[in-house]
């Protein structure tokens, strides 16, 4: 009897999970370029006319990009498409042992410019808007500052850390003479995905338990359960971190705090955030435990753009890109900001 009940519950859960996966990342898209693990996608326009300037979404290399296209009605990409934007997405993929030498330079000075060149050829426009989220935001900020005379038209940043001293917990761990990042990279090559997931949990230790308890309170609401499982699945779906990039960011960003000092080198040249001249919007969250406010709020102050804005929402790291408040308030503001700058 009990065995039957357990088997039935397992079957229900498996069905729910299958349903949830089938509803994730469903916005129609085409793969237009692939190189190593990198995939560049073009989302099929959903409006009769589109804004002239295409938009490229750049995800963090340690998280899967389907958070941008979680499910219909909860998809930032779908929101941009319906507002008339021509949307592209770079998926960095899962680094293998042969990619342990991938460094920040490779992402910023090679892979991003390569993607931009492919988009220019695909859509016929020279200008481009970059949207960077989390670590992807570090890459797009560095790109914008290092290639200030390039094709960048607008820079849209979400939860982008630039001040290593603001990453207090991570900084304390790597400067306390205990944890040795070199040992980790020398042993594994790439930082394993399970360590990345553990690091996210370490920053807010009881959040997972809290989520599970909240789930028990809403078990009767199937949609609510699915919404919860979607987010927890994404959180547990971390990617390995390319060893060399991890080492550089620990040494030069977290410990050396070189981005804010204008000493972080990309392609052999120190990058000054003041060199960013394009219109800039930075969206950040007051209670972000992954990218604390103290680490991210300096970007707008330091950027040299005349047209720049910082938008702070109440909430956490993920509520910037998904959730009811994002759909009704945050995303409309992004569209309102970007539309007049994309003609």
């Amino acid at each position: 009897m009990l065995e039957d009940m357990i088997a039935s519950s397992r079957a229900d859960l498996a069905a729910l999970e299958a349903e949830m996966i089938a509803e994730t990342a469903t916005t129609p898209k085409q793969l237009i370029y692939a190189r190593d693990t990198l995939r560049l996608y073009h989302y099929l326009p959903q409006a009769d006319t589109v804004f002239r300037v295409p938009l490229l979404l750049v995800m963090s290399p340690v998280s899967k990009p389907y958070i941008f296209d979680l499910t219909p009605g909860q998809s930032l990409i779908e929101h941009f498409l319906q507002a008339g934007f021509d949307v592209y997405l770079v998926d960095w993929g899962t680094p293998r042992s042969e990619h342990a030498s991938l460094d920040v330079d490779d992402y910023v000075a090679d892979w991003i410019p390569d993607c931009i060149a492919r988009i220019q050829a695909h859509c016929g426009e020279k200008d481009i808007t970059l949207l960077g989220y989390c670590l992807g935001g570090i890459f797009t900020s560095l790109y914008a500052a290092r290639f200030a005379d390039g094709p960048l038209k607008n820079l849209l940043q979400i939860a982008t850390p630039v001040n290593g001293e603001g990453m207090e917990l991570q900084r304390k761990l790597v400067t306390s003479d205990g944890f040795d990042p070199d040992l980790l990279v020398d042993t594994y090559g790439n930082v394993p995905a399970w360590m990345i997931e553990a690091a996210f949990q370490f920053m807010r230790p009881l959040q997972k338990t809290s989520g599970q308890l909240m789930l028990l309170n809403t078990m009767d609401d199937r949609e609510n359960v699915k919404a919860h499982l979607r987010i927890t699945r994404w959180g547990a779906d971390a990617l390995p971190f390319a060893g060399a990039a991890f080492r550089t960011l620990i040494r030069d960003f977290i410990i050396g705090n070189k981005i804010i000092r204008g000493e972080f080198e990309v392609a052999g040249k120190a990058v000054d955030l003041g060199a960013i001249r394009v219109p800039l919007l930075h969206l950040l969250a007051e209670h972000d435990h992954v990218v604390p406010f103290a680490s991210s709020h300096d970007l707008v102050r330091l950027a040299g753009s005349a047209d720049k804005e910082q938008m702070v929402i109440k909430g956490g790291h993920v509520s910037l890109v998904t959730g009811q408040r994002a759909v009704t308030r945050t995303w409309p503001h992004l569209v309102e900001w970007l539309a007049p700058r994309s003609v």
């Binding site: 793969l31 899962t94 205990g178 230790p205 809290s210 308890l213 435990h289 005349a306």
Partner: protein, 123 residues
């Protein structure tokens, strides 16, 4: 509320869960602050180092016994996964080339969209 309305049942487990959820952020912050203490972060860092070394030694030490039992090691499984990854990359390159070739003559929406009236970027 009329007298005929049933009184909602009090569920102590649910009340406890609500209480936990409401207080979680504060407790997590307190735990994170505790982990920021020098000696705590140092001890945690050393634990991570030890775990990395232990796992490395364990996986090296298991290579011989696993081979004797005619079973694949973690390295063998990883090597297989990486070969599949390279095949996926090759398939993706072909897919992208085909998509681009087939898409060449397709009609695309005009890039003439304008923002709503009154919405202009600052000069």
């Amino acid at each position: 509320m009329s007298e005929s309305d049933p009184k909602p049942d009090f569920d102590p487990a649910r009340a406890w869960r609500d209480w936990f959820v409401q207080n979680e952020r504060g407790w997590s912050e307190a735990m994170a602050n505790f982990m920021k203490k020098d000696d705590v972060s140092q001890a945690m860092g050393k634990e991570i180092n030890a775990a990395v070394l232990a796992q490395h030694m364990m996986s090296q030490g298991m290579t011989g016994p696993m081979a004797m039992m005619n079973m694949p090691t973690r390295e063998d499984v990883v090597a297989l996964s990486e070969r599949i990854g390279r095949l996926e990359d090759a398939v993706a390159r072909i897919e992208a080339a085909l998509t681009t070739a087939l898409d060449a003559g397709a009609t695309k929406p005009a890039r003439t969209r304008k923002p709503p009236r009154g919405k202009r970027a600052p000069e």
